[in-house]
């Protein structure tokens, strides 16, 4: 008979990532059926209830209390989990209570932080979306530029913040801006890429990561990588941050050329962007992933590409080599399944396969790609970082283990000929994403043959995880490693037996 316990820690706040990491540890414990630690906000209480983990009445906990819920085989196992939970929280509290300021007292707010260091000029905000606007407004009150990593911030809030920022001459990167690199300082999920003179403006975090890493591997470097958030080029926002970022890069002595990455913007906004770049005195490369070819004639210093790899090659004038050798054996029957942690990488792969004539489905389909994921013989590319997969589960970049069940299922499935994966490393990512994948694949290979696994590693050797080591780890499990996401996708395509497809 299962035992369910609910334990409330009053006025105890911990960020969602730390809580999810702890929750995973509790669930790993012997005898624990389900466990979760979250702040007791109304929406989280609903999530607890839906998971059969809520025992207390909703009125018993406040939004700033922490709720630990454990369902275990019996009382002893539940207690053991509860004890571990408390231990984890107490040791975490001790760590953060050491404080960060010269006065050795906890710095509780942006105002206090600004007193500690009056030279601060950027607030990096990754609090729950419900409070991101609040903190961002505070940051602007203090004359700080803002990077809003948080998502679930309304379009209205984004508009208000960006208008204020425009008036004040400040940049608002985001919301939902996962990556920025300013003067070599990594913000959010970012890679330790070489400094150089290519300035990047990106509406996509993993897009910025992939392009900056490819530039580095091609022997060049970036001056800055400015994130704009995914909605900046919508008609409502009108590209406020994008244009401000372009202006700053055009003024910046360290920047010699620009590179812009986004999904295709609203048409009116796209025209303004192209006009601005055409009039600029520095060359630029524009990558609208899956964008249409530009209608107007562009001057020679503005180039348009459709894939991240093409953009990096265009910006550096170099070509990626070390492509994997084509498979010597006969082409395979079956489908490609892609399991992605980066949404833009999934989009790039979709574009390439769709353009090659494959019929595809995805949970975040591009035009011409089906949303129906149940079809048995349609190639399937999934973004596991999208909302439908990350409700109450960590993002796969933070916790690679969440990709494991789907990975295993795809390895076992008869109809899968090729498995396509992205491994994103760098600051903020898991210490060993390749290891998690290699372990699952090796284990499977011990038992039977399966699909060919093709991966790309978005990262550089100077990253904490070391791209070189990650590649070696993957290769030791028999995984084919391509130099970029686009290259991996092309390679996967080359493995298929295309005779049936071509005749469709």
């Amino acid at each position: 008979m299962s035992v369910l316990i609910n334990d409330i820690r009053q006025r105890f706040y911990l960020d969602s990532v730390a809580l999810m990491r702890f929750s995973v540890r509790l669930e790993d414990m012997d005898g624990v059926e389900a466990a979760s630690m979250m702040m007791a906000t109304p929406s989280n209480l609903q999530i607890f209830a839906d998971a059969g983990l809520l025992k207390i009445a909703p009125e018993e906990a406040h939004a700033d209390d922490l709720l630990i819920a454990v369902r275990a085989r019996d009382g002893a196992h539940a207690q053991a989990a509860q004890d571990l939970a408390r231990e984890l929280l107490d040791s975490r509290r001790a760590d953060t209570a050491r404080g960060d300021s010269m006065t050795d007292r906890p710095v509780r707010s942006i105002a206090m932080a600004h007193e500690v260091n009056a030279e601060a000029n950027l607030a990096l905000i990754s609090v729950p979306g419900a409070f991101a606007e609040y903190e961002a407004a505070k940051a602007l009150d203090h004359g700080l530029n803002v990077m809003v990593f948080s998502d679930n911030v309304s379009l209205d809030a984004e508009l208000t913040l960006k208008r204020r920022a425009l008036d004040q001459g400040l940049l608002v990167m985001g919301p939902d801006c996962g990556t920025a690199i300013i003067s070599g300082v990594p913000l959010g999920f970012a890679n330790h890429v070489r400094r150089g003179d290519i300035g990047i403006v990106a509406a996509s975090g993993t897009g910025l990561q992939e392009v900056s890493c490819l530039i580095d591997r091609l022997g060049y470097g970036i001056s800055h990588g400015i994130g704009t958030g995914g909605r900046d080029l919508s008609s409502t926002i009108g590209g406020m941050t994008t244009f401000a970022a372009i202006d700053q890069l055009l003024e910046d002595d360290a920047t010699a050329s620009l590179l812009l990455i986004s999904k295709p913007p609203a048409e009116a906004v796209a025209l303004k962007v192209m006009d601005k770049l055409a009039a600029a005195d520095k060359p630029s490369v524009v990558c609208f992933i899956d964008g249409a070819a530009p209608a107007t004639d562009l001057p020679s210093h503005v180039k348009v590409c459709r894939s991240l790899t093409a953009a990096a090659e265009q910006a550096t004038g170099m070509a990626l080599n070390n492509l994997p050798e084509r498979a010597p054996s006969a082409a395979r029957d079956g489908i490609i399944v892609g399991l992605f942690s980066g949404g833009t990488l999934c989009a790039e792969a979709q574009m390439l396969l769709r353009d090659a004539g494959l019929s595809l489905c995805s949970n975040v389909p591009l035009a011409g790609v089906s949303a129906d994921q149940d079809s048995f013989d349609t190639h399937r590319l999934l973004d596991l970082g999208a909302d439908d997969y990350t409700l109450n589960k960590p993002h796969p970049m933070l916790e690679p283990a969440v990709r494991t069940p789907m990975l295993q299922a795809s390895l076992e499935a008869r109809e899968v000929a090729v498995l396509l994966l992205d491994i994103v490393i760098g600051y903020g990512a898991d210490p060993d994403p390749a290891g998690a994948v290699a372990e699952v694949v090796s284990e499977h290979n011990r038992r039977r043959t399966g699909p060919i696994v093709v991966a790309s590693v978005c990262g550089v050797d100077a990253d904490p995880q070391s791209r070189q080591r990650q590649v070696a780890t993957l290769q030791s499990a028999g995984i084919v490693v391509a130099p970029s996401n686009a290259a991996a996708t092309e390679y996967a395509l080359s493995l298929l037996n295309r005779t049936e497809e071509v005749s469709q």
Partner: protein, 470 residues
């Protein structure tokens, strides 16, 4: 114009702590904020705070500056002692002013009821305590908060027509405030005492000591109180639970005048002994000073500065400048502290008294860093911990009062001007150093401790300020 790109960014990290770690690992500069959700995670209230913030509401900054300026410009003068009915014309037969926000007889705690019965006997409205109780039960008495009539009183804080009250004039704004004289320690009316000994002492205060104190004060032309406070802070007082230095300073000012202005040597000796024997004599002076400072701040439109905090043993109430005389109330909280030998938390009366006017002007628990000795007394810990209490109060106040400085904090001024917005945002409640009374009337003080103002009062005030802004 220097932009974000011109140099390495200096980052303030708010949220996932690992981002700060990574910035440091990459050689960048970052200050990590130990973030907790504002307003206890209440999204609606956080939005109200955002609307009222100086950034979106410039009127607020100006209003709060004005409110705090009035506090700092105050110049309280302890100038006289008069009979209460002279000072407060509404004080009539059967009218009783009490500590805290409005409360009905039926909701009052034991010590308050005991004191009220005693005061009926003192005033001659009842011949004994039992008759007094019948009078109250029959609804014959009219109750009002002291605060409504520019008065304050400690613990039960009863002010009635014939009692002597000290008068402080805030000469900067020409307003006056009033408070009864501190009876001493032990079995006294402010703790609900009401027997013959208590009544006799109150009669002595009315007939002998009060008039003598009054004539002495007039003789010296009054005592300016800000300098007394400044010196007291440097001597280890915080003016709520520790007043021995200020009591001594005032005794020094008064003693020659008491001799010069009064013929009856025996009465003078008795009066001097009375002050000298009561370490808390100055508490009532500090309180009436606080009231005289805050009354002119009571009505600055749009200001979120707290103008009064007060308890009646059942409810805790605050008033806020921008909402005038409106009370925002919540049940009082239980103090956490140390008990005198023989007593425990089970003996404690809930929090009571107008003495929180002292914290309202930046003293008491707010100035705990000046008084390590009191920190031990109220169970707040050691000197280092005493500092931490004051430092927390800086987070929720508007400014530091440079006239009242704390030597141990490098002469930083006391935290002044409690801001409702900051309290709700940070969920740091004002810290109060309080005495703890026995819950049975008349037993007296059984301990001392720290109590927090209930956050609910401030949340309600925030809602009202936001409504008022529309």
């Amino acid at each position: 114009m220097s932009t974000l790109l011109s140099s390495s960014p200096i980052v303030i990290n708010v949220g996932l702590a690992d981002f700060a770690r990574d910035i440091r690992a990459a050689g960048g500069q970052v200050v990590n904020v130990d973030w907790v959700p504002p307003a206890a995670g209440d999204v609606r209230r956080a939005a109200l705070i955002q609307q009222l913030q100086p950034g979106s509401n410039p009127r607020l900054a100006a209003a709060n500056d004005e409110a705090v300026e009035r506090m700092i410009n105050a110049d309280p003068l302890l100038k006289d002692v008069v009979i209460a009915a002279e000072a407060i014309p509404s004080l009539d037969r059967h009218v009783v002013l009490h500590a805290g926000p409005p409360i009905d007889w039926s909701d009052m705690c034991g010590p308050m009821r005991g004191a009220i019965c005693g005061v009926c006997v003192l005033e001659g409205w009842a011949k004994d305590l039992r008759q007094a109780e019948q009078l109250a039960d029959a609804g014959e008495l009219t109750f009002h908060p002291n605060h409504q009539f520019s008065a304050v009183g400690p613990m039960t804080g009863l002010t009635t027509m014939s009692q002597p009250v000290m008068v402080v004039e805030n000469t900067a704004y020409a307003n006056h405030a009033f408070c009864t004289i501190n009876e001493g320690l032990g079995k006294v009316m402010r703790f609900g005492g009401n027997d013959d000994e208590v009544i006799a002492r109150l009669k002595w205060l009315r007939e002998s000591f009060g008039p003598m104190l009054g004539s002495s004060l007039r003789h010296v032309g009054g005592i300016r109180l800000k300098p007394i406070i400044a010196r007291g802070l440097a001597m280890g007082d915080e003016m709520h639970q520790r007043n021995v230095a200020c009591t001594s300073l005032v005794l020094r000012e008064l003693a020659p005048a008491m001799v010069a202005a009064n013929d009856d040597a025996a009465a003078v000796e008795q009066g001097l002994r009375f002050i000298a024997g009561n370490d808390q004599f100055f508490l009532n002076v500090a309180m009436v000073m606080g009231k005289s400072i805050m009354d002119p701040v009571g009505d600055v439109p749009g200001s979120s500065i707290v103008t009064a905090m007060s308890r009646n043993g059942t409810t805790f109430g605050i008033r806020v400048s921008g909402t005038g005389s409106r009370w925002f109330t919540a049940p009082v909280e239980q103090p956490e502290g140390l008990y005198f030998p023989g007593f425990t938390a089970a003996d404690a009366n809930p929090d009571m008294g107008d003495s929180t006017i002292v914290e309202t002007v930046g003293l008491g628990g707010f100035a705990m860093a000046a008084s390590p000795a009191v920190a031990g007394f109220v169970g707040a810990g050691n000197a280092q911990q005493a500092r931490a209490f004051t430092e927390d109060m800086y987070v929720i106040t508007h400014t530091k009062n440079t006239e009242w400085t704390i030597p141990g904090l490098d002469f930083a001024g006391v935290p002044t001007g409690i801001d409702v917005l900051k309290v709700v945002e940070t969920q740091l409640a004002p810290t109060i150093n309080t005495g703890i009374a026995h819950r049975k009337p008349g037993v007296g003080q059984v301990g001392a401790g720290i109590v927090r103002a209930p956050l609910e009062c401030f949340s309600a005030a925030l809602d009202a300020l936001a409504e008022g802004k529309q």
